[in-house]
Symmetry: C2
Subunit: 217 residues, 2 copies
DNA sequence: GCTAAGATATTGTTCAACAATTCTCAATAG
DNA sequence: CTATTGAGAATTGTTGAACAATATCTTAGC
């Protein structure tokens, strides 16, 4: 048995959530889903725990589990933490090993290549890899996993955005500029540029979310 | 019943771990603990998951859960993250609300009062509150919970130290100095002082852990 | 003393039944 | 008409058990 039943169930649910079949806020009924997927409630609950750990769903006592809703306050907070972690990475860049510094440049390269090919999906994930590489300059396992979780939450927010595919494009040039500043050892300027960068990105996302909000009202 | 059974069980175990009743490395037997606490294995496992999420215990496949052992590499990493979060707080101090800034000074006051009374236990927790207050200047819920988790891990490390009670004492004066710098708006100097402060504290802990290591060898 | 095979103990997974809580919705009072 | 309350329905929380898979201990043989 390679994968447990609970893991397979979690995979199915993850696909449905990320595919939009289960929009944010949906309650995941234990009985209905259990019948649908042909597993016992207990096994289903085990699958829920896996998804809770990925913060794809939230659990409310005696009320069940719901597909996570990432609201503007969450996005704002996520960007606050990103600013703290990525700036810490930039400040640690001087003492970081060559592989860690190379990963930053590599992510920018890949993003530009993907943009040239029109693969916006890949542009998006290369952009996330770029920011993950910035935070990784601190060489801290805990910071790495924290960034992964933040990015997973952010993906849920992108899901609620009208046109997420082209969101990353205008930031490609700034990624390149940031990478150059790091290569040149201009850590102070890199940090202040990064701060305004994240601020701009946050505003853009919040604007898109408000737009979407308006549609549903 | 405000809390679920699993949550109450997790609370009991957390207290026992932090109180030293369950020293690092101890295996938590499902059958024995279940009988002891009067809950089913299933519920106990649910409680374990909560503690795993707090990284107070670790899970080894087919071998059970063990009270987390915090080694020097962990402590070093924890201090890296603390530096990132607390420095971010200091940099956000200018824009932070009055209550958040007051909490910093209040923690220093309490620590000094406790030291005057010789209550080193309370000195320790006031010191942790001081650092928590620094990080809280960012006004970010995620940073707050992250700090709580780091502090919980750190308490485990203190457990393995010979004389943890007097560890915080030499830092009282530096806490006061740091609080003054913040009150005076000297954020840049506060940040660099904080950086060396954390570095010194880390070295002290690592030294104490190595000492203890020697005893057991 | 060391290795290997078998016995024992522990954890992993799944299930179905019962307990506790929340939700629904009609009846009632203001 | 609105708010409240309470019984009943629907849903989640918890338990104990059974069986499978894995690890640990015991013992026999070399």
């Amino acid at each position: 048995m390679a994968l447990s039943t609970a893991q397979r169930v979690a995979d199915v649910l993850r696909d449905r959530i990320e595919g939009g079949g289960l929009p944010p806020g949906t309650r995941l009924s234990e009985e209905a889903l259990g019948r649908d997927l042909g597993v016992s409630r207990n096994t289903l609950r085990e699958a829920f725990r896996l998804l809770i750990h990925e913060s794809l769903v939230v659990h409310r006592l005696n009320r069940g589990v719901f597909v996570r809703v990432v609201d503007p306050a969450d996005v704002t907070d996520i960007y606050r933490v990103r600013a703290a972690l990525e700036c810490a990475g930039v400040r640690a860049a001087a003492g970081a090993g060559r592989p860690l510094r190379a990963a930053v440049t590599a992510a920018v390269d890949e993003a530009e290549r993907a943009a040239a090919g029109g693969d916006w999906q890949e542009v998006g994930s290369a952009d996330l890899r770029f920011h993950r590489a910035l935070a990784a300059l601190s060489a801290s396992p805990r910071i790495d996993t924290a960034m992964d979780r933040l990015m997973a939450e952010l993906r849920l927010a992108f899901h609620a955005m009208p046109s997420a595919h082209r969101f990353h494009e205008p930031f490609l040039a700034r990624n390149r500029a940031l990478a150059r500043l790091l290569e040149d050892g201009e850590y102070g300027r890199a940090e202040s540029e990064l701060t305004t960068y994240l601020d701009d990105a946050l505003k853009l996302i919040l604007g898109a979310l408000r737009e979407r909000e308006g549609e549903n009202a």
